[in-house]
């Protein structure tokens, strides 16, 4: 997908979850932050020319060690670190019955806001770095 599509999806999902209440709706908010986070990452990496538009990242735990280091150096460590942070908070609150859902939802919203700010700042990466490290 093209960067603009990822941005539209990220903004759309974020609009949905911002209309929910962290005090009562933590499952959907946390899941939404995970989905929107992956869209912001793909937006930034495609726009920078670091990943091809046919290759999308969905989860931090599928990203290899090499790719993670490469994305961090070419773009920002905040991208994958943010998705990983959300995916670490998610299981016990979405799949499990942890009692800290409201605080967890607020935390993932803050992580997403910071990721969005970072993603919007990332520009095109120099061609030499792109061709040297692009695996996808």
């Amino acid at each position: 997908m093209m960067p603009a599509f990822h941005r539209r999806k990220a903004e759309k999902v974020t609009r949905t979850i911002l209309g929910l209440d962290p005090a009562t709706d933590h499952e959907m908010i946390i899941d939404g932050t995970m989905i929107a986070a992956s869209q912001w990452i793909n937006y930034a990496l495609h726009r920078a020319g670091i990943t091809r538009t046919e290759f999308d990242i969905m989860h931090a735990y599928f990203v290899t060690g090499f790719e993670r280091q490469y994305y961090a150096l070419c773009a920002s460590p905040v991208l994958i670190d943010s998705l990983e942070a959300i995916e670490t908070i998610r299981p016990q609150h979405v799949r499990g019955m942890a009692k800290t859902g409201p605080a967890a939802a607020r935390k993932t919203l803050a992580i997403l806001a910071n990721l969005k700010k970072t993603a919007l700042k990332i520009g095109k990466v120099q061609r030499a770095y792109r061709t040297a490290g692009q695996t996808r």
Binding site: K12, G19, T24, D25, E27, M28, I35, Q92, G96
Partner: protein, 155 residues
């Protein structure tokens, strides 16, 4: 997790789903519906004894987590199948008994709508979402019957 915890999650997700517009907010409406369907399947699988009713929850099966003795902590372990996360592989479908097959088929069809609705660029229509909801209702009906039958039998 325990059967009743899965049923509580379904209530949470249905309440949250009812707060949003299914066309305008189709991504999260879809996601909540799919997750509620998986909780229904997990509750029924536990009820019929196909998987274990216990406090462990799934995080990338076969990795499971449980609350540790230290408050706020979580303990991971590799375990035989307990909660499942998706019905999208032969391994997962193999554990679904005949009494829950129709719910399994419905869930698999719900999974197939993931790309167009959640990540793709298809124009999401009311017909598509009606189909998703009908599949979810089918999943609920079949799983609830199985849970009720096993509760009546005292299992």
């Amino acid at each position: 997790m325990h059967v009743d915890d899965h049923l509580t999650k379904i209530k949470h997700l249905e309440r949250q789903r009812a707060k949003i517009d299914r066309i305008e907010d189709c991504e999260m409406w879809y996601w909540a519906t799919l997750n509620a369907g998986v909780h229904a399947m997990n509750a029924a699988l536990h009820a019929v004894g196909a998987t274990k009713d216990d406090p462990w929850f799934a995080h990338n099966v076969p990795i499971y987590h449980v609350a540790s003795r230290k408050p706020g902590g979580w303990e991971p372990a590799l375990k035989p199948l307990g909660d499942i996360e998706h019905v999208d592989s032969p391994e997962m479908e193999a554990i679904i008994p005949a009494s829950l097959k129709k719910a399994g088929v419905a869930l698999r069809k719900m999974e197939h709508l993931r790309e167009p609705i959640l990540r793709g660029d298809a124009k999401v229509s009311n017909a598509m979402l009606d189909r998703m909801d009908a599949l979810y209702q089918k999943c609920l009906t079949v799983t609830r019957q199985a849970i009720a039958k096993n509760r009546r039998a005292g299992r």
